[in-house]
């Protein structure tokens, strides 16, 4: 039974990735990361310069899984009510009544396009939804769909009219997946596939029910305390105030990873363990997505920014420090 579940998971996961790979060219790592976040039940932040297929990947995820989608194009004049919805006064024959009209957040897959164009106030509207899977309006709590996930896109280059994401919101994204500029041969494929009469869309290979089942399977993966302990020590070493933190972390970071980062490491690691056909977590599993887990959670100090420290240097330093501790 267990083997069947693992086998089924692997098969469905493979189908999903193939379906996405058919429309997203030259970004296999991004596809793997996006599906990992989706199956782990987390939110995904897609970062890349324009033309790398961020929005296409988000929409294709919805297409291939059959999940209901809501899309918000973030702009500076966007208001929280435009995302969450609000109560509207409706005239009626028996008198006026106030009715709650849900916003686009009431969906299974919310695509927040160019999220950093929204004001911090608007961005903060998503905090409760992303963490609690509910929205509170006029003291009334509205439950979101259990399969609710946010897939946000962000352009790292454009600074005009953008607002940096608050740390609290960034921490709520399970992974930050980066999409790189495609190579010339990939560009050729993109041009050939997108300049013909038929529009290319991802094939629906899964049902929402299957996504829900896959998420449950992920949660069943057994993680030994000792493995979680090693992951926790790794996360702790990214904090500048931690005694085990290596020198680049102490010098270059103002804020390291926290508890949500550890949850993200374990959940994404469990997805990876299942992909490898295992029912238990290994160190290699949680290490697979450690870059994507902590990349957006690190807050650099002035010295770190001046020195041009990046997540790669931090991860390497933490890896060495943790390995040295044994």
């Amino acid at each position: 039974m267990v083997d069947d579940a693992v086998q089924r998971f692997c098969q469905q996961d493979l189908q999903l990735r193939e379906a996405l790979g058919a429309v997203i060219f030259g970004q296999p790592d991004a596809v793997d990361g996006a599906t990992c976040a989706l199956l782990a039940g987390g939110h995904l932040l897609l970062v890349g310069v324009p033309g790398t297929g961020k929005t296409k990947l988000a929409e294709s995820l919805a297409d291939s899984t059959g999940l209901s989608r809501g899309r918000i194009q973030f702009t500076p004049d966007l208001l929280p009510a435009d995302i969450l919805g609000g109560e509207t006064l409706l005239p009626g024959s028996s008198g006026d009544r106030v009715e709650f009209r849900p916003g686009p957040v009431f969906t299974q897959l919310l695509i927040a396009d160019e999220i950093n164009r929204g004001t911090p106030r608007t961005q903060s509207a998503l905090l409760e939804a992303m963490q609690e899977y509910s929205v509170t309006i006029s003291s009334h709590r509205h439950r979101l769909d259990p399969l609710f996930s946010v897939i946000a896109t962000r352009n790292p280059i454009e600074m005009e009219g953008t607002y940096p994401l608050p740390e609290a919101q960034r921490d709520r994204f399970l992974l930050e997946v980066q999409l790189h500029s495609p190579a010339p041969e990939v560009l050729t494929r993109i041009a050939a596939a997108t300049t013909i009469e038929t529009q290319m869309t991802a094939t629906k290979v899964l049902e929402p029910k299957q996504i829900e089942s896959m998420r449950q399977t992920v949660r069943r993966v057994i993680a030994a305390d000792s493995v979680i302990d090693r992951a926790a020590h790794w996360v702790a070493a990214t904090r500048p105030e931690d005694p085990t933190a290596p020198e680049p972390v102490r010098r270059g970071l103002r804020l390291g990873a926290g508890a949500r980062a550890l949850q993200a490491l374990i959940l994404s690691g469990k997805v990876e363990a299942l992909r490898n056909g295992r029912t238990h977590l290994d160190d290699e599993d949680w290490k697979k997505w450690r870059h994507e887990v902590i990349r957006h959670r690190l807050v650099y100090s002035l010295e770190g920014e001046l020195d041009g420290l990046g997540p790669e240097e931090i991860v390497s330093a933490v890896d060495r420090a943790v390995a040295h501790q044994g």
Partner: protein, 408 residues
């Protein structure tokens, strides 16, 4: 009735002789663990022997008693092997699941099974995991040796060979001389050492000399002009030269210091240099006139009260007057030449070439029965220092001049 968590916990745990509580393992896990721990113990013992072998060799080379050397060397080797083996075993006691996982390539499987060993049955995922433990491949000795190789014996053997080579070149280490006190063996070392040691008399003499110097230095205390001399007596500074002039009290202090110095102290002549009269007394061959070859004629410092030097000396001994003692030569006074000469006085500082020696003609011993031949004999003596030859020449010149002028 399902067993409670505490019952399961008590059943699945047992106490080891060391008191540590470890979960009761599946037979296969236990077998694998024993195999890994055994290998780690052997590896630790090998490390201990690798370190102990050169040490044992050095012990064996340095100890002259073969039986004791062998016993100590084997003891050291065994001790190190035991310590290292138990240390490795203790470390492996917590790491063996990871070692096993690494060997068979099961990523954290053993670790996870062991971690969830205490959880009750019922979770199909966990049960499936446990079921796999019955089919786990045991870590083979070959795989264990490949992943946890024994320490390289070459450095240890090289060190041992080096120790043996050094031992062969240098020979057995000599015993410490003080340890061999067997006088029946005829060893000369004890006699040699005894002869080289100072005798009690020498030690006493040395103590007296030191005490005498301390007393002498104290006698000079409070006299700034004599501070260099005091430091010289204490051995704090090298030989010093006396100043041109000293106060009578200073001279008196020098005299007191000289009296306090132990007899035979080699520093006496140097201290005496600070008192010109004593310097002459101590260094001039005239004081040892008997040693002078000749016909008995001698020059000696007269103790006649009329002698100026003696008068000065006596005055100094009595406390003297606080005027600097003039050590410059007295100019020749022709009027005094007619006066009866009772003695001859030398004034000046004794130097090697007697350059500043002058005859004080104030009082001169009459030639009497002194003959020129006897003076020549004395003067030509090879043992006589050149300055005394010069003194004799001056004296003879003076005598001749006196005779020539019709005096005396």
């Amino acid at each position: 009735m399902p067993a409670s968590d505490s019952q399961i916990s008590s059943r699945s745990r047992r106490r080891t002789p060391t008191g540590l509580r470890v979960p009761r393992l599946e037979p296969r896990l236990r077998a694998g663990r024993a195999r890994i721990l055994r290998h780690c113990s052997r590896r630790g013992a090998a490390s201990g022997i690798a370190i102990g072998l050169p040490l044992a060799t050095i012990i064996w080379l340095t100890d002259h008693d073969p039986g004791r050397a062998a016993f100590t060397a084997i003891g050291v080797g065994l001790l190190l092997a035991t310590v290292f083996a138990s240390r490795q075993r203790r470390r492996a006691a917590t790491l063996w699941p990871r070692i096993w996982d690494r060997i068979i390539g099961s990523q954290s499987l053993i670790e996870t099974i062991l971690d969830r060993q205490q959880q009750p049955a019922g979770n199909p995922w966990l049960d499936a995991l446990r079921a796999r433990s019955a089919h786990l491949p045991l870590p083979s000795p070959t795989a264990l040796r490949r992943h946890l190789p024994a320490p390289d014996p070459r450095p240890s053997l090289a060190l041992t060979a080096t120790a043996m080579l050094i031992g062969a070149v240098l020979g057995p280490f000599d015993p410490i001389p003080e340890v061999q006190l067997n006088q029946d063996s005829g060893s000369t070392s004890v006699a040699q050492i005894s002869s080289e040691l100072p005798t009690d008399e020498q030690l006493r003499s040395r103590q007296q000399r030191i005490r005498g110097r301390e007393d002498a230095a104290l006698a000079l205390a409070g006299r700034p002009a004599l501070e260099p001399l005091a430091r010289q007596i204490r051995g704090l500074s090298p030989a010093t030269t006396a100043p041109q002039s000293l106060l009578p009290r200073d001279l008196q202090a020098v005299q007191a210091a000289l009296q306090r110095l132990a007899a035979g102290d080699p520093i006496i002549p140097e201290v005496a240099l600070w008192n010109p009269l004593l310097a002459l007394d101590s260094r001039s061959p005239m004081v040892t006139s008997a040693a002078l070859p000749g016909d008995g004629a001698s020059l000696a410092l007269s103790t006649d009260p009329g002698n100026e030097a003696v008068t000065r000396s006596t005055a100094l001994a009595d406390g003297g007057s606080d005027r600097p003692t003039d050590l410059s030569p007295t100019p020749f006074d022709p009027q005094l030449s007619a006066a009866p000469i009772d003695s001859i006085q030398l004034a000046g500082t004794a130097t090697d070439d007697a350059s500043d020696l002058r005859l004080d003609t104030s009082v001169v011993t009459p030639p009497g029965e002194e003959s020129a031949a006897s003076w020549d004999r004395v003067r030509d003596d090879p043992q006589l220092a050149p300055r005394w030859s010069r003194v004799i020449d001056l004296y003879q010149l003076w005598i001749r001049g006196k005779e020539g002028s019709g005096g005396g």
